[in-house]
């Protein structure tokens, strides 16, 4: 089982690692092993615990972008009513770009999440994929297209100019985050850069894409938390969820400001360094 202390630590790490491009799932696999805790990724009680922390993360993301979501949903409804996306209706177009970006990862997640998680659940493979995640972030910064980001138009308007194909590409890239060690937000931001977005816009698109997919995945598994698998873990899960909610809020706030002027490079270096050190430590039997 999970103690309240462990729940708080795991919640804090989840809240930081989910929006940061450093793989929350990978850290969730590696951390218990690094601390010598008897918690494994595929334990029923741990999966129930993760439902609570992910639900908290999704709710914070929804609350953080609440005003944006109201505009976007209104835009989608408007376009459905008019049976067209009017020229210049950035909210409607952004809404449909998010839907197109969500469908592929939703399908892949629904069909492959369980097998992928069970195949790649070991801390050693998560550490190896953390290196690959770092290389992906560094590679995306090298492959990025030149972006002309004008401050005259808002981020949503710039995002709404993205092509349908690029939205599908960026959304599909999220699926790599199903493998512990690869970051969902990192993959989305990397694909966004390659598709021609700025760091700031790629981060915003990644957070908007994250809300429905994390929320839906967590809601789908709420019965696990409320069922027998959740017995004895609901108290720690609540503590973990509160910690995750607090750290998610501050992480998103920090990252949105960070990516106005900075790049993915420091996170890439962190992932490669941490991945190499952990791989060596696990190989040495530590």
């Amino acid at each position: 089982m999970i103690s309240y202390f462990q729940a708080a630590i795991l919640g804090i790490v989840q809240g930081i690692a989910e929006p940061f491009p450093v793989s929350s799932l990978g850290h969730g696999v590696i951390l218990p092993r690094a601390f010598g805790w008897n918690i494994h990724q595929n334990d029923d009680f741990f999966l129930a615990f993760l439902v609570a922390t992910h639900l908290a993360t999704a709710l914070v993301l929804l609350g953080f972008f609440w005003e944006d979501w109201k505009r976007i949903v209104a835009g989608v409804v408007r376009s459905l009513r008019e049976r067209e996306i009017r020229e210049g209706d950035a909210d409607a177009r952004l809404g449909w770009l998010l839907i197109i970006g969500t469908i592929p990862v939703g399908l892949i997640g629904l069909l492959l999440e369980k097998p992928l998680r069970s195949v790649f659940a070991s801390p050693a493979s998560a550490a190896a994929f953390l290196i690959a995640n770092g290389l992906m972030l560094l590679g995306a910064e090298r492959l990025r297209r030149r972006v002309v980001a004008t401050d005259a138009v808002g981020s949503d308007e710039r995002l709404s100019h993205m092509s349908w194909r690029n939205a599908g590409f960026v959304g599909t890239a999220q699926a790599i985050g199903l493998i512990p060690g690869f970051s969902r937000s990192g993959a989305t931001m990397s694909a966004g850069l390659v598709a021609g977005l700025s760091n700031e816009d790629a981060a915003r698109f990644a957070f908007l894409l994250a809300t429905p997919i994390i929320g839906a995945a967590a809601l789908l598994k709420v019965p696990d938390l409320l069922g027998p698998a959740g017995n004895g873990v609901r108290g720690p899960a609540l503590v973990g969820a509160i910690c995750a909610a607090i750290t998610t809020y501050f992480s998103v706030k920090f990252l949105l400001r960070f990516f106005e002027t900075n790049r993915l490079t420091p996170f890439g270096i962190y992932c490669v360094t941490a991945g190499v050190l952990l791989t060596l430590a696990f190989a040495a039997g530590l």
Binding site: L80, E82, I85, G106, L110
Partner: protein, 77 residues
């Protein structure tokens, strides 16, 4: 028209996934298992949700493809 047809077929597939346990699914459906399997009674709800999501996407595509903007572009062409 094709999108509407695909959407209807996918709706039926989703309903089958929601209603039938794994061993009762048609043999060509992903997730089908024999009656003796340990997962025979399992309902593939996730497969059903996936089929439903694609069905809705197909209907949405059909909705826009036959809307005023599409008609205008046909007329212009």
């Amino acid at each position: 028209m094709l999108a509407v047809l695909a959407g209807c077929v996918l709706l039926v597939i989703a309903a089958v996934y929601f209603a039938e346990p794994a061993h009762s699914l048609p043999g060509f459906f992903p997730g089908h298992v024999s009656a003796g399997s340990s997962e025979a009674a399992h309902h593939h709800v996730k497969h059903g949700i996936a089929a439903l999501a694609v069905a809705l996407a197909a209907f949405a595509y059909a909705w826009f493809a036959t809307g005023p903007a599409a008609r205008r572009s046909h007329t212009t062409a």
